[in-house]
């Protein structure tokens, strides 16, 4: 039956969006419980983008993420338990508890790091992919960024370098309508796709709430880039369901009215993808995701915290030890 075939194909994407959704909900609980200090930038509502993009990538392809980056890390294949341990500042975390929410990295699965400086990662990823090519590989790279980043000169410099040197990078803009509280219409002169087109980079607008639409658009972009066609840009239109950052759960910032939020939340990527599955298949995936995340929470909270006697371990790759701050 065709519906079963569609369900089988739709299952992995559904699992990823569901995993990200439930991971973020648990992470918010752990923020409230004081286990995750510093808070997080929830990815709720934008899950289709990470899931769809990473479904079109190979394990050895490279990505960089953002401050709102948990979805990218999970979709690219990092272990949810070690990701959660990182958020909880544990020695078993992806970064040994040295990076946290905004710097999670797992080089073993091509995650060159989330980056907390808006617009910075584009040129880093471009250089990394260029180098992989120089070293004989055929990897492509994806750099995720928000609508706020399109006003950063650094990102536009990356567009130029990638286009000029034909580096196979897919620039993925997650346009959720706001740079923190600044609406796109008040921040972006011209258009986001127009930014790319000015550098000769083909750019398309994608429905960022539909995982399959994102995956299909990414496949086309990745295929073109890998074949030597140079960079591409996808502007994924999406909506952030929750706060810019969990501090907004305590401090109400008045910048989105209730009607707009309700309208935005009406197109839920988990529901859009879930509707493509047989109910039984969907329930099975839900159960499996809950099990994975229950184990992840257990693993994270049972893991040791890093030794405070050595807070600057790894500061220098060469092993140089810095002078202590006293004595």
């Amino acid at each position: 039956m065709t519906s079963t075939a569609a369900g089988v194909d739709a299952g992995p994407l559904y699992r990823t969006v569901r995993l990200i959704r439930r991971f973020e909900e648990r992470a918010i609980d752990l923020v409230r419980a004081g286990e995750i200090v510093g808070g997080i930038h929830p990815y709720l509502g934008q899950e289709a983008i990470a899931a769809g993009v990473c479904a079109a990538l190979r394990p050895d392809d490279l990505i960089t993420g953002t401050h709102r980056g948990h979805g990218h890390v999970l979709a690219k294949g990092a272990d949810p338990a070690r990701m959660l341990a990182e958020l909880c500042g544990r020695a078993t975390g992806l970064n040994g508890g040295r990076g946290g929410s905004m710097h999670a990295a797992d080089f073993s699965v091509g995650i060159v790091g989330a980056n907390a400086i808006v617009g910075a990662a584009g040129s880093i990823l471009t250089g990394a992919v260029w180098a992989k090519r120089r070293l004989g590989g055929d990897q492509v790279g994806v750099t995720f960024f928000g609508d706020g980043a399109v006003n950063e000169g650094m990102l536009l410099e990356a567009f130029n370098l990638a286009a000029l040197w034909s580096v196979p990078v897919v620039f993925v803009c997650e346009n959720n309508g706001y740079a923190t509280t600044m609406p796109v219409a008040q921040a972006v002169a011209g258009t986001i796709t127009g930014r790319a087109e000015a550098f000769g980079i083909p750019a398309v607008v994608v429905d960022g709430q539909d995982p399959q639409a994102v995956r299909d658009a990414t496949r086309a972009a990745v295929d073109a880039a890998r074949a030597g066609g140079g960079p591409r840009l996808l502007e994924c239109r999406t909506y952030r369901f929750d706060a810019h950052h969990t501090f907004e759960h305590d401090v109400r910032l008045d910048y989105r009215d209730a009607a707009e939020v309700a309208q935005g939340r009406s197109r839920d990527p988990v529901e859009i993808q879930g509707a493509r599955l047989d109910p039984e298949q969907r329930a099975g995936i839900d159960t499996e995701v809950e099990r994975v995340l229950a184990e992840a929470v257990e693993f994270a909270l049972a893991s040791p915290t890093p030794d405070p006697a050595d807070p600057l371990a790894y500061l220098y790759a060469s092993g140089l030890r810095p002078r202590p701050g006293s004595a």
């Binding site: 040994g96 880093i124 250089g127 180098a131 650094m154 130029n160 790894y314 790759a317």
Partner: protein, 322 residues
């Protein structure tokens, strides 16, 4: 023995590393034609795939080099204008420098930033004449300021081979220095090791970069009055504090001469690091640019802002009285 210039020594080091290690690539502005001479002859020998002219996009190509390093290459970036380091301070201090720790040791960023002609080049005025080495030492980026051709060669070799980001300042005032050098004795100079350029008994003068040569000249001028030891740290971060303490432990007096601004400058750090460890016979002195200095254009004003030989001589005489 053949004469080797400081600039030629840097050029030779870069050429030797390109020959030795295929993962070394050089990026920068106008480097194919070798506008500063650092890359003279390298395009012909290594081709445009490894000697890469960049557009004027310093922030972009500095991060690009970080990414290339994360993926396994060993980029060298040339900056021909020292103040461009202000523009890329975020990319070096906040990105390249932080990757190793933030990723829990998953990543290394072996990028070398060579500043060909730092400090005053006479007549290049306010925005082309800074010496921002103290900023990099402050944030903990390895910071080298060689004074001699042999050290220029040896420190650049060490920088390229190092697994961390390294900034190498080649002061404009040192580029023309020539020395008799036995080519077979050119070798890597370990990062973080200073050296005594001139032994003495009465006072230790710490001189940074091209000022080593001024300090040596001042020491000779004063030789009949005072025995001056000249200590060249070569590396400002990490700093060879043990080497300096050994010197000051003998002389008991300290003067620092440093061609950068006074407040929070490297001179202050050197003095603090010494006086918290050993007692001195007299208050230490530093000779620097003034607080907040912006190098003025007119030649006499440019010179007036830089630490001068007379100021250094006066400082030495002052600490000898104390």
């Amino acid at each position: 023995m053949p004469r080797l210039s400081y600039l030629k020594a840097l050029n030779r080091a870069l050429g030797d590393e390109l020959a030795r290690d295929p993962s070394v690539v050089v990026l920068g502005e106008d480097i194919r034609v070798a506008a500063s001479n650092l890359t003279a002859g390298l395009l012909k020998k290594y081709g445009p795939e490894r000697i890469i002219d960049t557009p004027l996009a310093e922030q972009g190509f500095t991060n690009f080099a970080t990414g290339a390093a994360l993926a396994g290459l060993r980029p060298v970036i040339e900056f021909q204008i020292p103040s461009l380091l202000f523009l890329v301070f975020e990319q070096i201090a906040n990105q390249a420098h932080k990757f190793s720790l933030m990723t829990g040791g998953q990543a290394r960023v072996p990028v070398t930033y060579v500043v060909t002609g730092s400090g005053s080049r006479s007549g290049w005025a306010g925005q082309h004449s800074d010496h921002p080495y103290g900023l990099f030492a402050h944030v903990g980026v390895k910071t080298l300021v060689p004074a001699t051709p042999a050290d220029a060669y040896g420190l650049l070799l060490s920088a390229v081979r190092d697994d961390d980001p390294v900034v190498l300042f080649a002061p404009a005032g040192a580029l023309g220095v020539r020395a008799d050098v036995d080519p077979t004795e050119l070798a890597p100079v370990p990062i973080g090791t200073g050296t005594v350029r001139r032994p003495g008994d009465d006072v230790t003068v710490v001189a940074v970069g091209h000022l080593v040569h001024d300090a040596l000249a001042a020491a000779e001028e004063l030789a009949d009055q005072v025995s001056v030891e000249v200590f060249d740290p070569r590396s400002l971060y990490p700093f060879d504090i043990d080497g300096l303490l050994a010197s000051v432990g003998r002389t008991g007096r300290l003067v620092v001469v440093d061609d950068s601004n006074r407040s929070c400058g490297i001179g202050a750090e050197v003095i603090a690091s010494v006086v918290e460890r050993v007692p001195l016979a007299a208050p230490p002195r530093r000779v620097t640019r003034p607080d907040g200095a912006v190098l003025p254009y007119a030649a006499a004003l440019d010179r007036a802002v830089q630490p001068g030989r007379e100021q250094l001589t006066a400082a030495i005489q002052l600490v000898m009285k104390g």
